[in-house]
Amino acid sequence: MQQLNAQETPSVEPIRPPEGQEPSKNKASKSPFQLAFARFRKNKLAIVGIVILVSIVLISVFADLLATHDPTKSNLLLIENGPSSEHILGTDGSGRDNFSRLLYGSRISLIVGFSAMIFTLMIGTTLGSIAGYYGGKIDSFIMRLTDLMQALPFFVLALTIISIVPEITIALFVTIIALTSWPNLTRIIRGTFLSLREQEFMLGAKAIGASDFRIIFKHFIPNAIGPITVNATLMMAQMIIFESGLSFVGMGIPQPTPTWGNMLSQAQNIRILRNHPEAWIPAGLGIFLTVLAINFIGDGLRDAFDPKSNRR
């Protein structure tokens, strides 16, 4: 209980530094963000998440240097080969090097996850802010729109769009995911805004003559940054899973582009599933580790931004 109190006090009683933290050497005071960051740093699981994610990001950035082969070049003489010194993880059904595809695959997963998240975040934050700030008819319109989107089965909708469009590029794929997954975030941000609206500093901002635009971007969003960041992080993990899932069923990024989902889809073949675990297990592990790392970070951020949710 005492530890819980110590965690809760910083926002109320700033004179005492948070437990286990040295008083800062410079005189500048800690902003709520800095306090949150200090709490985040003490969360071991979140740090593990950061380490894993950073390693995967590094691998994807330096895939060119690390890869032993061209990931898209097939060699029909070497189909479904087992591990060898030349091909550490063997080759796939078209004779492409599994190891190189694994490295490049991280790139696609991260790019899709990250850009879909940013795109969704932009739509969700804009619509959510407008709905929460203006209220009234504008709010009702946006909320009915989200109801409509949520009433449509997301997966089926995405599949339909994907099957209609003849050629799927990464940009198009990201757009489809973002256009079908903004309603949740919109609702969350609208809810946050509705509670912030009642705070007196919103009236204060109006009383000093701040414009609507300024109030939304300068006063609302920084105060909502906690929920926004947490949801964005968790959403990114969800997007990565979604990309893999679609690729697995053959509706994602088309071959020969290497993605983890595409690699996993080889396991649909019973022969590969039984005899060549080295071909698909690493891709599965890649997805698993990435999503796990991001979720750890998301949880850490949530605890950091909201000291009350401390469950350690």
Binding site: P32, F33, L203, G204, A205, A207, P222, N223
Partner: protein, 323 residues
Amino acid sequence: MTNSTVLSVEGLKTYFYLDDNEIAKAVDHVDFAIEPGETLALVGESGSGKSITSLSIMNLIEKPGKIVDGAIYLNGKNIVDLSDKKMTDIRGKEVGMIFQEPMTALNPVYTVGNQIIEVLRKHKKMSSSVAKKRAIELLKLVGFPRAEETIKEHPHQLSGGMRQRVMIAIAIACEPKLLIADEPTTALDVTIQAQILDLIDEMKHKFDMGVLLITHDLGVVAEYADRVLVMYGGQIVESATKQTLFNDPKHPYTNGLLASLPSLDKQTDRLGAIKGTVPPAHRFPKGCRFSTRCPHVMEKCLHANPDLIPESDGHEVRCHLFK
């Protein structure tokens, strides 16, 4: 109204349109004026329309509320019909406002300095370094001895009284001619109250501002106001100078308010109280709005709402007892 009149409110009506076609007449025909260097106190119970009056002056009435009629002259210019965009140039520049709840009135994610600088940059078009210097001066002016350090602090590091000082610094940053203080000391303890009110008074003299002091504390009125408006049910029921109001109160409601104050001279067991509460603004009685609670209620009061009539020079009362 003279040329220098800071604020002149004429026939202000702010109504709220409720769902079931009912109209809440939160402010119903209110007139008053404030001269430079004058403190006008607006007194009344909760629900009497004080805060709606002040928000009307800022043009911050939100739906379903609306300023239905009347004019508000700020420094000689009618601001009732100004567009939202034009109003943003007036709020904070020509009118400063201080709120009741200093604990939440500052944005928690910005430093104190940032929030003062924001006003200065917006209205005075100062560069950030000039604005920073000015912010330090302002903080010193409102009583922060270590202003250079305070400017870097976040609101959560300041106490309620200190935050209210920061609010005052923000409100006076652009040297407005009018300061609206909406129950500025309600959330503070008594010793801090006096300091804050003294500070407002000092700033009033320094910048020759008119101050609209909204309060339900008659002790505050006695100490700081020049003139007093007593509001009840969205209307002014008595208007007088401070001396007249305390020495010769006319309206039964004013008498009731004064009777509910403890006195140092007399020993009493129970303080006087006015029976009942202010009726909701959409259910005012047909005649005099105070008739449901008035100890002197007459037949006439139930049918006709009296007009605000001059009793003596500068003393007006809205009551059938005085004709």
